[in-house]
Each structure stands twice: as C-alpha cells, then as structure tokens.
C-alpha cells in the first residue's frame, strides 16, 4: 500500500514540475503506454501467454472511438465503454482457438492476428481513411469542461491508469492472480489442482484486450488524429519491450518500463532513427543480464552493492 501511495503522490505532483512544457504531452502518452503495458503484463507476466498483436486491440479501441464519434456522432463516453466491451468480446471469442496454442505458435498466431487487423485499418478506407488516417476526432468533455490541454488530458489519462493499476494489483493478489501464476509455472499442474486453465486464459486475454481498447480510445480523443502506423507490429514489439524491461509479472515494473520507453525517444531526439536499434539491443541485453526486469533487477543490484560494502567493512 505504501508503494501505491508513493506512486499516487508522484502522479499527482508530476505536473507541478513540468507544467506547460512539452514534456506534459509526452507524459500523457506515458500514461497510455502504462495502461497498455499493464494489460500485456497481465497476460504475459502473470499467465505466461505471449501476445504480439496487442497493438491491434489498441487500434480497435482507437478506431471504434474515432469512427463512431466522427461518422455516427455518438456520445464519446458511451463509445469508450461500448468499444471496450466489443473488443473484449472479440478477444474472448478469438481467445478459444488462439490460446489453445503454446509458446512459439501462440506468438506467431497473435502476430498474424495483429497484422490482419492492421491490414484491415489500411484497406477499409471508407471508414478509417486508410493509410492517411482519420482526423477531427472530438476531445472528451464533461458538460462544458473540455479536456483540451495537456494538463487536463494528463489527469484524465493518469486517473484511468491509476484505476486500472489498482484493479491489476488487486487481481494479482487474488485467487485469480494465484491461479494465473500457477498456469505460468505449469499448465498441467494447474489443471490437476482444478483450475479451468482454458477459460481463465481466455478471460485474462479478454480483460487485457479491454484495457488496451480503453487506452486506444483515450489515445484517439487526446490526439484527435489516428493512422494505422501507430498500431502496427512495431508497436506490439515496443509494448513487449516495455513489459520485459519493467519486469514480467510486476505491475509497477510495467509503469517503469512504459515511462522509460516513452521518455527515451525524447532524450534521443535528433537521433530519431536510432531508437529501433536501441529497442532491439535493450530487449536482448535485459533478457540476458537482467531477466527479472528493472522491478527485480534494481533491488538485486542494490543488495549486492550493500553486501559488497559490508564484506569490505568486515575485512
């Protein structure tokens, strides 16, 4: 709990440091990416099921929000919830055949799924605008209060992120969370102790897709312009990198990973082309030298450092 309160205070106070600056805009994206990283981590870190197609669910949320509010003039808040339910249902139905697969095959199937969704965004030009994108998506508003500045969007996005984080933390400490970890360790053993592994995997896949869809809707409304390029395979890999860097199975880790990977390109501006090289190198190095991610790797390093200090003190 202490950790969570610390986290809340940081989230609430952060804008005081950066107010008005360009960095506020980046922090809005950091919030959206944190939601997505948590969503993927529930699936990958807890249940041990990989997905390389999560950018697709993110995109479905964004496009449903974009199309329903611009073309059909529906209420944006209603669309966000409806889109999330629809994406969840889609993932639930799809989950039965997809999550029957394991390891490499699962990775390839979700990858294929993500690419099919991406191709559909590109080809259904009448609705999505195709490769040139969809613009003019309205900003969210409550009454006459419009979320039209970075700071307002910041509190909106992070408000939702904090709620999702709380739910995810709660889930991971619950019976369901323990069942998911059991599946991670050995699916057969989990089945033996009476966990309906098949259903549970599909359910967590659907929940993960729902969170991604909400993140997509918020993205569409805060940027007001979307194009397929944001929802391709590369973004799925970026999400994977966030989760791995932060630490598989650690919710706070996902926050760290998302924050780091969102801020990184800003520090490397000018060297824009290098970021793909850095993602690749980071993924490989983390997996080889810090397989627990930052969330577990940093305390481990600190411990080792402390121990070595003690060791030299005794000698």
């Amino acid at each position: 709990m202490a950790k969570f309160i610390c986290f809340m205070i940081i989230v609430i106070l952060a804008p005081l440091l950066f107010e008005g600056g360009y960095i506020m805009n980046v922090l809005v994206f950091a919030g959206i990416n944190t939601m997505l990283a948590i969503a993927l981590n529930l699936l990958l870190g807890y249940a041990g099921q990989i997905s390389l197609g999560h950018a697709g669910f993110f995109g479905i949320g964004a496009y449903l929000s974009g199309i329903m509010t611009t073309v059909f003039n529906l209420n944006p808040w209603f669309v966000i919830s409806a889109a999330s339910v629809a994406t969840g249902l889609f993932a639930f139905l799809l989950g039965f055949p997809v999550l029957k697969l394991k390891g490499h095959y699962l990775a390839m199937a979700t990858l294929g799924l993500g690419i099919i969704i991406y191709i559909i965004f590109n080809e259904t030009i009448d609705y999505t605008g195709g490769p040139s994108g969809l613009s003019g998506i309205p900003q969210l508003s409550v009454g006459s209060f419009v979320f039209d500045s970075d700071i307002r969007n910041y509190y909106l996005v992070w408000g939702v992120t904090v709620v999702i984080m709380l739910l995810a933390l709660n889930l991971s400490e619950s019976r369901v969370g323990r069942a998911l970890r059991a599946i991670h360790d050995s699916e057969i053993a989990a089945r033996v102790v009476g966990i309906n592994t098949r259903l549970l995997k599909v359910q967590i896949f659907a929940v993960s897709a729902m969170i991604s869809s909400v993140a997509g809707s918020l993205y569409a409304h805060s940027v007001t312009f979307i194009s397929p390029a944001s929802f391709g395979f590369n973004f799925s890999v970026e999400l994977l990198t966030m989760v791995v860097i932060g630490g598989l199975g650690s919710i706070y880790g996902s926050f760290l990973g998302a924050l780091l990977l969102t801020l990184l390109p800003e520090f490397l501006r000018g060297a824009n082309d290098y970021d793909i090289v850095i993602y690749g190198a980071l993924l490989m190095l983390m997996l080889m030298f810090m397989p627990g991610g930052l969330a577990r790797g940093i305390p481990e390093l600190l411990n080792r450092f402390k121990n070595s200090l003690k060791g030299s003190g005794n000698a």
Binding site: I119, I276, G280
Partner: protein, 293 residues
C-alpha cells in the same frame, strides 16, 4: 476469366512460393534441432539481398562473385547471433527465446537501416529481362532462376541430411537431443550448424528474390512470416512438405491478389496461417501427436 491469366497467376505464384519454401526450410531446420522458432529468420533474407547489392555496387564485384560473398557474410551474422544471443541465454524458456530472437531481429533490422537507409534498392536480374512465353503467360528469366535454385538447394539439403555424417547427427538431435548427446554428438555444435545452414538458406532466398521485388531494410518481416507460414503448412518438416506448403501459399496468394484484391494479399497468408494453427497445428500433411508431459 481467361486461362492465360490464371496460368500467369499460377506461374508467378510458383516463383514466390519457392522463395517462401526456402525461408520456411530455414525455420524448420532450426526448429527441429533446437525447438526454437527463430523470429530473426526474415532478417537474413533481407541481409542477403542488401549485401549482394553492396558487393556489386560498392565493391564493383560481378554478380557471380558478389552472391557467394553476400551469403558468406549473412551466414557469419547467423553464426554470431547464435553464439552471442542464443547460447548464453540463462533460462531458455520458449517465451524468452521468442523475445530474444525478436530483439535480435529488430537489432539487425535497425543496424541495416543505418547502413543502407530507408530506400528500396533493386538488384540487377541474373540474366536479362527478356520475358519467356510459356503457353500464353509471360515469365521473367528471374522466375526460372528462382525455381531452379530452389530445386537445387532442396536437393543439396536432402543429400546433406540423409547421406552425410553431420546431417545424420543433426537429424538425431531433432529426434532426441539427450540421446544424441549420449551417443557422442556435440549437440551445441549442431545447434550452431543449424543456424548457419538456415541463415545461408535465408540469404539465398533474399538474393534471388531481390531482382524481382526490390529490397529494403524492412522486407524481412513479411518474407519471414510468410516463410514461417509455409513451414507451418508443411508441419515444420525440412523437406518436401514445406516446399509444398510454400508453393501452395505462393499460388493462393497470387490468385487471391489477382482475382480478389491486391490490398488484402498479405491478409490471405495470415488467415491461412491462423486457420492451419487452429485446426491442423501438425501441418496439412502430418499426423497429430499426443502431448507429452
């Protein structure tokens, strides 16, 4: 719909299918000896094409000399990848292997982008651009090269796996790694070999397809996935089943692009991939196996 046109789609499908088959065999060879799906396989296809281009344009080598050099360099990259990334991995669970090979693939792609830029490049065709007419359909000489080289490589592959000691040792690893180790086969060396062979296969595929479709730093993703699709249809065999899978995929894709819509061309192969994975994960031609605990 005229017969000529169908024949045209069929013949160009065969040529792209041959490419998918070569890439797919690369996937199967590594999978069979290590249980790894190498997500970086497509990058070797890209490397083959771009390296051949650099050897012809920068070093002014003739094509017949540039090609072996390009294959040698990409094979070296494949060997290094195995030694530096795969072998030192502390916990080689399937998910970690997926992530590390994806990391490797992005790294190779990113470095290639820095070296060759984002433009598309074309390699000159091996023997002119005078089309050959076969029964009303036009075929580029490059198509014939592709099919010929694929056939040649598959025969060599067959010979290697069934008639040489190291090929037989690799097959032994595929059946049972521990048993292979017990009879004195150096399993780690066989793993290295499998990466060498499959990156060589991938780079050849990349070189022979480059004159036809152009090449760029990012062609590896799609070509790699389609090759994987071919291997899945063939049940991850490193023989004729994967070749059949590649040809089937190439022909369906070319027919689909011609008759239905070219925008959805790539979607066709992924829908086939999903259907096969859902309903016949053992491949179209394989028998199902029970799960071992």
């Amino acid at each position: 719909m005229q017969f000529d046109q169908l024949l045209q789609f069929f013949l160009s499908g065969v040529a792209t299918g041959a490419i998918y088959a070569l890439i797919g065999i690369g996937f199967s060879i590594i999978y069979n000896s290590t249980g790894i799906i190498n997500f970086a396989q497509g990058e070797f296809v890209m490397l083959g094409g771009l390296l051949a281009l650099s050897f012809t344009e920068l070093l002014k080598l003739p094509l017949w000399a540039a090609i072996p050099c390009a294959i040698a360099v990409s094979t070296l990259v494949g060997a290094l990848f195995e030694r530096l990334a795969i072998r030192p991995l502390r916990r080689p669970t399937p998910i970690n292997l997926v992530i590390i090979t994806i990391g490797g693939s992005i790294l190779i792609r990113g470095i290639s982008m820095l070296i060759w830029g984002k433009d598309t490049h074309a390699l000159p065709p091996f023997s002119g651009e005078e089309p050959v007419i076969i029964g009303g359909a036009t075929v580029m000489p490059q198509h014939i090269w592709i099919v010929g080289i694929t056939l040649l490589l598959i025969s060599i592959n067959k010979f290697y796996f069934f008639h040489t000691i190291s090929g037989k040792a690799m097959r032994a690893c595929a059946y049972n790694r521990r048993a292979a180790g017990l009879v004195g086969i150096d399993v780690r060396r066989m793993v290295l070999f499998s990466f060498i062979i499959s990156s060589a296969f991938g780079s050849v595929a990349g070189i022979i397809v480059a004159p036809l479709t152009m090449t760029a730093y990012d062609v590896g993703v799609m070509l790699g996935l389609k090759g994987f699709c071919a291997a899945i249809i063939g049940g991850m065999s490193s023989g004729m089943a994967t070749v059949a899978g590649g040809l089937l995929l190439g022909i369906l894709e070319s027919m689909g692009a011609g008759l239905i819509s070219s925008g959805y061309k790539d979607a066709i192969s992924f829908i086939i991939l999903l259907l096969i994975l859902f309903f016949r994960p053992q491949g179209l031609f394989g028998k199902s196996e029970s799960e071992r605990v």
